[in-house]
Symmetry: C2
DNA sequence: TATTGTTATACTCTATAACTATA
DNA sequence: TATAGTTATAGAGTATAACAATA
């Protein structure tokens, strides 16, 4: 499966702010972990969104920030690989629930664990005090961006 | 032009570390700026890589972290849109140099400026002292990742 | 032989528009 | 009418493998 994400990248291209390169480095790390588990990064995100409970298509599309038609394809491919299943929603015959299969649940856990340790490695060069400060500031940025 | 990147995203999906969501937020911000200037994010990166001097295909592919065959397509599309041009390399008839057109140069500057201000906005919620600390730590992480 | 780049092929991810089925 | 989801279509970005031209 050719997953198709820049594996390492972030070699200096000049002109791009370090924050953009940070995004590239982080995204590349996630992509590498996904690939190790034979997932695409987007499939990894999908599986993580299904941890704990089934979700409806419309809900997932919003969470992932993609159109419902794009989600149809994403779920199609994940279903074809045995990671998720579609199920009916009792009480609304228009709706579809997406659930994790056993395989999908295992892949989700492996992906989550792998991502966590890959991120730890990326932050490892920083002093311990900076690491926690960096994570705290990252959370603040994300929260503010979500609110806006 | 349907550019195809999650425009806002980063709504809570649960299970994903904030650092991953940070990458999503940053990537989304870059994508939005690119779209404003009718570029794809990858075209934006390509143009930035060409700021100042022409580069050879092999060199660009390494900088962007993609295979040379993928770069052929990327440059094809950018050339079709009048952003870049292919030129010969004196002294090596196998090689190709990619140069910015006037349009491409203008787009590159507009993209750079837009990205810089989008990043400023993302960091705006942090106290000024944290903003510079965050940028400094981001640079350190990127430098370390590049070295590894 | 090694290097540079292109072509061929196949996937994933994305969007918009049109459609079906249900509420 | 409005909502949930799919289908159809198109395009970007990616990879691998095979190839041509040149060093």
């Amino acid at each position: 499966m050719a997953i198709g994400l820049p594996a390492c990248s972030a070699h200096d291209l000049g002109g791009l702010p370090d924050l953009v390169e940070l995004a590239i480095v982080l995204t590349g790390a996630v992509a590498r972990v996904a690939e190790e588990h034979e997932l695409t990064p987007m499939q990894g995100r999908l599986l993580c969104g299904l941890a704990g409970q089934p979700r409806r298509m419309i809900d997932l599309a919003q969470s992932l920030g993609i159109e419902k038609a794009a989600l149809t394809g994403l779920v199609d491919r994940a279903e074809r690989r045995g990671l998720v299943e579609r199920a009916i929603v009792p009480g609304d015959r228009r709706a579809v629930q997406v659930t994790l299969t056993d395989d999908g649940g295992q892949a989700m856990l492996a992906f989550e664990t792998g991502v966590a340790s890959a991120l730890d490695e990326l932050l490892a060069p920083l002093p311990a005090k900076d690491r926690s400060a960096f994570r705290r500031m990252a959370s603040a940025i994300v929260r503010a961006a979500r609110a806006a």
